[in-house]
Amino acid sequence: MSEAPDADAELMLRVQRGDREAFDLLMTRWQQPVLHFIFRTLPDADEAEDLTQAVFVQLWRTAPRYQPSARFSTFLFTIARNLCLNEVRRRSRHPTQPLEAGAHGTDDDGADSGRERQYPDSRQAPADLGIQQSELVSKVDEALSDLPEKQRTALTLCREGELSYDEIADVLGTSLQATKSLIHRARETLKARLKPYLKSGDWEATSPSEHR
């Protein structure tokens, strides 16, 4: 994704002029990485997609603020990160309120929430996991959620957002060195915490195709 920043910046300049086709191209290219990034913070597929939707709506509305000197990926994931942080803060204040009352088409009172999905939904359900695999996945998720926010975000942007260290540094507002340090510390913490599983679990690096 990050290997064509100039192309994305050019598309974003077209979006500033109201070019919907350019916006569609950006959405097609970035919707999955943004969704994956958000899903690692809000591990609910429906809510993650709702927030991803909000990211792109926000992107369209804030297009006039985009400066071509900034990388598009930085602009986009800054929006995504801020919306994630806002949602986390909102949940800490109102833990029982869902992200979106109309996530499944209607408000609690049955009224049209305005986000009703009028179009066919071809979303695929996640693949079923074995019990052991599910437990191991939950251990990883638990270890990730216990990381400090900047470490977790840096690691997630690297893996799910597929951003370079420079781009991650821009999103976090840190230096390149600090970003490398964040990712390094995050990985060291995870390795230490998941050591038993890494040694004997299903993730033992036996298959080259699993590596990244």
Binding site: Q32, R117, R123, V137, Y165, A205, E210
Partner: protein, 178 residues
């Protein structure tokens, strides 16, 4: 193994690509071959690869097929307005009315009215008390004739002057009073 706990600057050059990007099978094989002579680094590489595999094992959702349509639907949704634009004066009048209908404004108004009524009560009470005091004063105050020399009497010394005492004694002697 202690080297891995140092700052990223002291890490081997192969570490960052392993952590940062998706390596092809050939790259992995080449790394393993390169590090085979260093058991510590080889083990380190395997741990990094195992962590990568663990992080990748977590399932990720796929974006729904109608995602773009929903985004555009959100973007294109008109702003919610329930009434047509009224004239300027109507806006101002309605604005005031809307403000008055609001709970906090009503509460504030109630407090102000109550305060005004209370102030009126206090004021009337004070006036009646003042009137009563004036009436009492007028009843008990001395005559004007008496008050004519008031200033002169006020200016006199507290202790009587010797001349005054002599005069008083003389007067008392003539009247038979001591």
């Amino acid at each position: 193994m202690n080297a891995r706990m140092n700052s990223p600057d002291s890490n081997p050059d192969w570490l960052e690509p392993v952590q940062n990007r998706r390596l092809a099978d050939a790259e992995i094989a080449a790394l393993r071959a390169r590090l085979s002579a260093s058991p510590l680094e080889a083990r380190w590489l395997e741990e990094e690869l195992a962590l990568n595999a663990a992080l990748s094992a977590r399932p990720l959702p796929e974006i729904s097929g109608n995602f773009a349509a929903r985004v555009w639907s959100d973007i294109d949704r008109p702003a919610t307005t329930t009434r047509s634009e009224p004239a300027g004066w109507a806006i101002r009048l309605f604005g005031w009315w809307e403000a008055l209908r609001s709970g906090p404004v009503v509460a504030l108004g109630t407090v102000l009215v109550a305060a005004a009524l209370g102030w009126g009560q206090v004021s009337r009470h004070q006036q009646s008390v003042l009137a009563a005091n004036l009436s009492e004063i007028s009843r008990t105050a001395p005559d004007v004739e008496v008050l004519r020399d008031f200033e002169s009497i006020r200016a006199m010394a507290v202790k009587p002057e010797p001349g005054d005492l002599a005069l008083i004694a003389a007067l008392d002697g003539s009247s038979g009073v001591h």
